[in-house]
Subunit: 204 residues, 2 copies
DNA sequence: CTTTGATTTGACCAACTGGTCAAACTCACG
DNA sequence: CGTGAGTTTGACCAGTTGGTCAAATCAAAG
């Protein structure tokens, strides 16, 4: 194990390679479906060498998750109370959609965990995410009460945004097969903009 | 292995118990994350006894999947070309939502597979489901061309219905944690009806 | 070049996994 | 009750898995 001095050049490179490889492997096979050997090989290391940098398979996974969650929630945090409501929400949707296109492995890693009951994530969902959702749900509710967007259950509104955007990453295999030659991300931005614009634009 | 005579009473009972147990285990741990022993114990059998009824772990999984896919696609098949378009679509949404509430394990089993790249399902998606989606996408397109519902990319419309409804089963762990005491399925039907009604009702 | 700490690896281990098999047990039926 | 087919199981096996360890190799500072 490296001492807790400042990391050497080799340590930085190898730890990064391991996390990158682990993201690939974990996101496509889930935690139990992935083997340390797979990750090591994908990172270009031997298994004992990998375990020289991380104490266990679970430690790799946890570090990956910790790093992921922050960036994952950033778009929601960025929802600006002082902005124009409809445009804020539409921008949030597009940001989330872009993340599905640019970081599909992260999305699938998260999905894998939640589908299996969030055994390793329950705590952070019940604390950090819960608080954030409460806050943003109240913001949405305020906008609705002020008549600036159409009424809808604010939490379900958030769920629907997550669901619709992450679907393109999580169900990528299905979506691409059914779309044939057409790239799903060509029409998706416009489809989702239309959907939320029609749903949320205040009625006259 | 039982001969291919008519199944005995014991065979029927045990095979059913195995499939029920397998649905539980596979849907919460994925294929690779599940062990034959787990399934056997959940079915109240010993491992060799379970393997007396099914030749392998994969055989159990395949039988489960085959049984699932048919019922899974039935609601979409039921989309009636001769019905009132908006009501047909809304009814489809509600049917799918009910399936998420009543058969969440089936939904998660399916999600697990697709998230991991649909290795065992690619063929049936590329054939049966592809054909069905093409047919129903054309039906939707026809309704739009006739001005009976608002325009939107028909395939993305289908994806959004799947995504929004299955989310309540697949991300159940997250949704329930964030909703607190409130049952997600209380407000979900109305939320989704509102969403699709606003989006699809033809503009004057 | 030497030394010292960082890095890498082959060999190994115990636990677990999917699956087999012969022997034992149970049950329906004559 | 006996008998043969249907059912169940303990013991076992080979392959895989996460993880360890001592020994070997490498890199950089003196």
């Amino acid at each position: 194990m490296p001492a807790d001095r400042a990391p050497t050049r080799i340590q930085r490179k190898n730890r990064a390679a391991i996390l990158e490889a682990a993201l690939d492997v974990f996101s496509s096979h889930g935690f139990r479906g992935s083997t340390v050997d797979q990750i090591a090989k994908a990172a270009g290391l031997s298994k004992p060498n990998l375990l020289y940098y991380f104490p266990s398979k679970e430690a790799i996974f946890n570090e990956l998750m910790a790093g992921l969650l922050d960036t994952w929630l950033d778009p929601l945090r960025a929802l600006n109370p002082d902005g124009e409501p409809l445009e804020e929400i539409l921008a949030y949707v597009q940001r989330k959609l872009q993340m599905s296109r640019d970081f599909p492995r992260e999305s699938r890693l998260y999905a894998n965990e939640i589908v299996q009951g969030a055994p390793r994530l329950h705590d952070v969902i019940a604390s950090d995410l819960y608080v954030l959702v409460e806050e943003k749900a109240q913001l949405l509710q305020g906008w609705m009460d002020a008549g600036r967007i159409n009424r809808a259950h604010p939490k379900h509104l958030l769920f629907s945004i997550w669901s619709l955007t992450q679907h393109y990453a999580d169900f990528d295999a299905q979506v691409r097969t059914l779309m044939g030659d057409e790239d799903p991300f060509d029409a998706a931005p416009k489809y989702l903009e239309t959907l939320y614009r029609r749903m949320l634009t205040p009625e006259s």
